[in-house]
């Protein structure tokens, strides 16, 4: 890292660093994506799914949605499963979320606000 020579440069570092900090979730989030990471989920590839989600969020500059992991949601036959909860909307659980599907979910559901119908397993509170 080079020396900081101006306020603009300092601002840039702050923005980047703040993103990292916000992933910790200490500022207001508008939603939460939960990846089921029970043993079954991990075996079905949930770690890759998780990675893809975080990458996709970063790619699109989304920093107001938290990504958390949970245990098994009990939907083993459709693992990996992912729940998307956005403020003011009913939660949606998606199944068979491969890394590609994960990117679709981020793009459609998080960015455009449209539920990815073909992946939906369940709607509403579990």
């Amino acid at each position: 890292m080079g020396k900081v020579k101006s306020l603009e440069e300092l601002m840039k570092i702050k923005e980047q660093a703040l993103k990292d900090l916000q992933l910790r979730g200490e500022t207001g989030k508008r939603g939460k994506i939960t990846v089921a990471m029970g043993t079954c989920g991990i075996a079905a590839g949930a770690k890759e799914t998780l990675k893809a989600i975080v990458e996709a969020l970063n790619e699109h500059g989304v920093d107001d949605v938290a990504v958390v992991q949970s245990g098994c949601m009990g939907l083993c036959e459709v693992e990996p499963t992912v729940e998307v909860r956005l403020e003011g909307q009913e939660p949606v659980v998606y199944g068979r979320v491969t890394p590609e599907n994960a990117k679709r979910i981020v793009k459609m559901h998080i960015l455009e606000g449209r539920v990815v119908e073909d992946l939906v397993v369940k709607r509403g509170e579990v």
């Binding site: 101006s6 306020l7 570092i13 702050k14 990292d20 979730g25 939960t34």
Partner: protein, 607 residues
């Protein structure tokens, strides 16, 4: 960007480390690895979160769940349940007084809710070893802003803020800077006094450990304002973690160009060196501190000349305390007016206290000046431990005094405390209950002063020793009323004739306890009674035969075997042999043992 889902902040303040933070962290990491989660879950050691009684502490984000009193076993459970399955582990949560677990303490618990965080705003939030996290929280923006201002405008801002030195005396910081700035000299220095020696105080250590960049930034701004090129942080060797974190922070600050030459592209240059002190109390006194930095023996000298005129190696030097300097970036960034929104007219801003003693929540708290002692002790502190009666609050360490319980509604600010014969000091606050003997408290602080007196001037060297002897005489039941008079006379002479601030304030614990608790002194000398039943020579332990069931627990634990009796028969204590260690009273489950004062005559007790 690191790929993370959960972040576990684990408090690595001194208290939590002592309570086993390292083994908890190791267990967390091992367990995360076991589940293959070590790539996505970050474990970060932060500075002191403040709630020291609850340690080791961890906060798990994004949920912000606060876990307390952790063990390696608890760590395993948390990884398994919380991180892996998303279920909060209730039994390790903080519990409200009524027993209800509270997952999000920062929003719900008065200990955190009532505080105003300026100086400690980053403690427990950022990773102190990462400059980026400090920057994310607006770090070094104040320096950038200051460098675009004229030095005199920086000083004006600090003056307008009304910031007063947090090291004890409360001298206006802006005025000190102005005096130094006016000096014509080829070199000037800025010194951060991190010698913190008061028994019970740990604010400065916590700030250095948890947010070292705030102090560095404050020093750089001070240097720019007065025209200094070089700074020293004088920190005691007993604070190894603070020194380590400070070293890392200094290195990073240089790398980023916040220290060194052409700071942030300007022609301002400034660098900081750490000077490690051996931990002599007197080295916190500014002239002794300077002697120590120069490599001389740490002894005070007569003032004037003041350090701002003739300081290190004869050059103008500004010496500010850690907490004072940590206030500076906030003030420059937010402006003097914003700072004045907190605190009182003459004591603006906040003060960090190390709350200790007989209070439920001990720890580090930052409160707006002017808060009452009642709010501080009962709302933030959670009240007196064991629900006993508050007797007094000792503030300001060995230089301070005791405030009796009837002044509980006193606002905490420089003037109000001074009026009561106590001082703000650096911010140690020790809460005392009915079991504390005020004569013994005075003796404790005086013992400290006698041990730490540098010996240069006679009143402090000889006088405090004489005072201690008298106090020991009184607490051992040998004192007379003349002794009390002599004690008071000596105290006043030492106060008036000592060379430095430490000697001048050494009699304060005695003077303030004499002022408010003279009846306790009199009970010691007239009736040979210790009302708090604390002074060993003036108490006896007795067994109530009505309550004693003869379980023999006391007899087994007694180190001098002075308790005798048959099994299932009442036991007795041989007063002639008893060393009054109190072991028996602790193990008795029947409340049969009590303390009485004055001490029983030896013959009577054996019947």
């Amino acid at each position: 960007m690191p790929l993370t889902t959960n972040t576990i902040l684990i408090c690595a303040g001194g208290a939590c480390i002592s309570a086993g933070e390292k083994s908890v962290k190791d267990a967390l990491e091992e367990e995360l690895k076991k589940y293959g989660l070590d790539e996505v879950v970050r474990v970060i050691e932060t500075g002191c979160m403040g709630a020291c009684t609850l340690g080791p502490i961890a906060v798990i984000y994004p949920e912000g769940v606060f876990y307390q009193k952790l063990t390696p076993e608890a760590a395993k459970e948390i990884v398994e349940e919380h991180i892996l399955k998303g279920r909060i582990v209730e039994k390790h949560l903080y519990k409200a007084p009524e027993g209800k677990p509270v997952p999000r303490v920062h929003e719900e618990v008065p200990f955190f809710k009532k505080q105003v965080k300026i100086v400690t705003r980053n403690l427990g939030i950022i990773d102190p070893t990462k400059i980026e996290e400090y920057i994310a929280r607006d770090g070094y923006f104040a320096l950038a802003k200051a460098l675009q201002m004229k030095p005199e405008d920086v000083i004006r801002e600090i003056k307008d803020s009304g910031l007063r030195g947090r090291g004890g005396a409360g001298f206006p910081t802006g005025l000190k800077w102005e005096l130094a700035a006016k000096q014509k000299a080829e070199r000037k220095f800025v010194v951060c006094n991190a010698d913190e020696g008061d028994p019970g105080a740990f604010m400065d250590r916590s700030i250095l450990e948890g947010d070292p960049h705030a102090v560095i930034e404050g020093m750089a701004i001070a240097a720019y304002a007065i025209g200094a090129q070089k700074g020293f942080v004088y920190v005691r060797a007993e604070y190894p973690l603070a020194i380590e974190r400070l070293n890392i922070a200094l290195e990073q600050a240089r790398e980023y160009g916040f220290l060194g030459e052409n700071i942030m592209g300007t022609d301002f240059f400034f660098d900081i060196e750490i000077r490690i002190g051996a931990g002599a109390f007197v080295c916190g006194e500014e002239t002794a501190l300077m002697a120590s930095i120069e490599g001389e023996r740490g002894q005070p000298r007569v003032k004037p000349p003041y350090p701002v005129e003739k300081g290190l190696w004869g050059y103008p030097t500004v010496i500010n305390n850690v907490e004072t300097l940590a206030n500076v970036p906030w003030i420059i960034r937010n402006g003097a007016k914003e700072f004045r929104k907190y605190g009182t007219e003459t004591s603006p801003g906040t003060k960090v206290f190390a709350l200790a003693g007989k209070v439920k929540n001990t720890g580090l708290v930052e409160v707006p000046m002017g808060i009452t002692l009642r709010e501080l002790i009962y709302e933030i502190g959670g009240g007196i431990a064991g629900d006993k009666k508050l007797k007094a609050v000792q503030t300001g360490g060995p230089s301070g005094g005791c405030i009796p319980a009837e002044y509980i509604d006193t606002p905490v600010d420089f003037e109000s405390l001074q009026k009561l014969g106590a001082i703000m000091g650096s911010g140690g606050m020790i809460v005392m209950d009915e079991d504390d003997c005020m004569v013994d408290v005075a003796r404790f602080f005086l013992e400290f002063t006698v041990e730490e007196s540098c010996g240069k001037c006679t009143p402090c060297r000889e006088g405090t020793k004489k005072m201690l002897e008298i106090l020991e005489k009184i607490t051992s039941g040998e004192g007379t009323e003349e002794d009390i008079e002599e004690l008071e006379k000596l105290a006043n002479v030492i106060k008036d004739t000592s060379l430095c601030g430490l000697g001048q304030t050494a009699p304060n614990p005695v003077l303030s306890t004499l002022r408010y608790f003279r009846d306790e002194y009199l009970a010691h000398v007239r009736e040979k009674k210790c009302p708090a039943k604390k002074c060993k020579a003036l108490i006896s332990y007795v067994i109530d035969p009505e309550k004693c069931v003869g379980c023999t627990a006391c007899a087994r634990v007694c180190p001098v075997q002075c308790i005798s009796g048959q099994v299932r028969q009442p036991h007795v204590i041989d007063q002639a042999e008893c060393v009054r260690c109190g072991s028996c009273i602790e193990v008795c489950r029947f409340g049969a043992i009590s303390k009485v004062t004055p001490a029983l005559p030896v013959e009577e007790a054996v019947e």
